[in-house]
């Protein structure tokens, strides 16, 4: 991280730290998702809280998750619980990068806070190692894109009026689906290819960030359909979503065949 800092001041992109450069192509999609968050959350939460939320939470999954519960009439506690559970992927991601980190706990804490889906992908190296400096640098454009997109969305929300008229309410589910598909069909969709597109330029495989830990595909497959949507008809909004997450306890079962103990991040 510190080696890169001096080179960052030169204007030629070639002299920029690698993580920063690799992160730039991903700014546009990040900003677009931030924009859709601003569009939807602005009218519900208010402009300032929406922007502050993006600035301090900085996690599309958590923010969309909480907002989905709020829009369907759920309370604050359920919204917070859903948002946080949606972010549990950061736990294994954090443990995955930890072995590559050096320095004192405070330094590791500050660097760990820069973890994001895109920076995790960009920092991934062969053999389950991570370039921590690349992770840290990659986070910067992502953060700017996310908060900037949210501000643009909040401003746009007042201009376009009722968001459902424009089909904006379907953006969440499709965004989630884009995260879920690589989980369900790791061999079919590889996010590294799809959005990274040469960001790392090495064609390595990597496991989807939601999993970021070993777990045989047969456990994952089919999870998408199994959660009793009918619960939604009878329970307070949000409860069915949390109940669905309990299906993850199936992971307590010991996998029979496939590579246990494979290094996190390397099971794609």
């Amino acid at each position: 991280m510190s080696q890169g800092r001096s080179t960052a001041l030169k204007w030629s992109p070639k002299a920029w730290p690698e993580g920063l450069r690799a992160s730039l192509p991903l700014v546009l999609p990040t900003a677009a998702i931030g924009l859709s968050f601003g569009l939807l959350a602005g009218p519900l939460l208010g402009a300032i809280p929406t922007i502050v939320m993006s600035a301090v939470v900085w996690s599309g999954t958590a923010q969309f998750g909480a907002l989905t519960i709020l829009t369907s009439g759920g309370g604050t506690a359920l919204a917070a619980g859903t948002g946080l559970l949606a972010n549990t992927r950061f736990l294994p991601m954090g443990f995955a990068i930890a072995p590559s980190m050096s320095g004192r706990p405070l330094r590791r804490l500050l660097t760990g806070a820069l973890l994001a889906d895109a920076s995790f992908v960009i920092g991934h190296r062969d053999g389950g190692r991570f370039d921590i400096s690349a992770i840290a640098w990659a986070a910067l454009p992502q953060y700017v894109g996310w908060v900037g997109g949210t501000i643009a969305g909040v401003s746009g929300a007042t201009a376009i009026g009722e968001p459902t008229r424009w089909g904006i309410d379907v953006l969440f589910p499709v965004f989630y689906l884009s995260l879920l598909l690589p989980e369900l069909f790791p061999e079919r969709v590889r996010r590294g290819e799809r959005q990274g597109s040469g960001a790392r330029g090495r064609g390595q495989q990597w496991s989807p960030p939601l999993a970021a830990a070993q777990s045989p595909p047969d456990h994952r497959r089919g999870l998408g359909r199994r959660h009793h949507p009918d619960l939604d008809a009878h329970c307070p909004a949000g409860v069915p979503v949390l109940v669905a997450a309990s299906a993850a306890l199936i992971g307590l079962r010991t996998p029979n065949r496939t590579s246990r103990g494979a290094d996190a991040g390397d099971d794609a």
Binding site: A80, A98, P99, A237
Partner: protein
């Protein structure tokens, strides 16, 4: 007030989840069973969020323009179209359907 509380809880919780590994682990792996459960929480939850965000209206199950939009998005994602483009097309399909009916 409740909104600010939500923001604070989400912010602190997210930072905690990102930093627990880096602070505590330092070269160690968590127990395998725990890792497997953690790895599955997000896909399970996200599936549920997709269902809740697409097929519910208040307390009711419903199939409306959102379902068509999601289907369009799903097809595009299946063919590895970038997520942002799939989202855009889904919204357009959804909006056009709502105009039509």
């Amino acid at each position: 007030m409740r909104t600010w509380l939500l923001i604070i809880v989400l912010a602190i919780g997210t930072v905690l989840m990102k930093t627990i590994g880096p602070v505590l682990a330092g070269g160690r792996q968590p127990p395998a069973a725990l890792t497997r459960v953690i790895a599955l929480v997000a896909p399970a939850l996200i599936s549920a969020l997709i269902v809740a965000g697409t097929f519910t209206e208040g307390q009711h199950l419903i199939i409306d323009a959102r379902a068509a939009g999601l289907l369009a998005g799903a097809i595009l994602l299946w063919f590895r179209v970038p997520a942002v483009l799939a989202m855009l097309v889904a919204a357009i399909v959804c909006a056009l359907l709502r105009l039509a009916v």
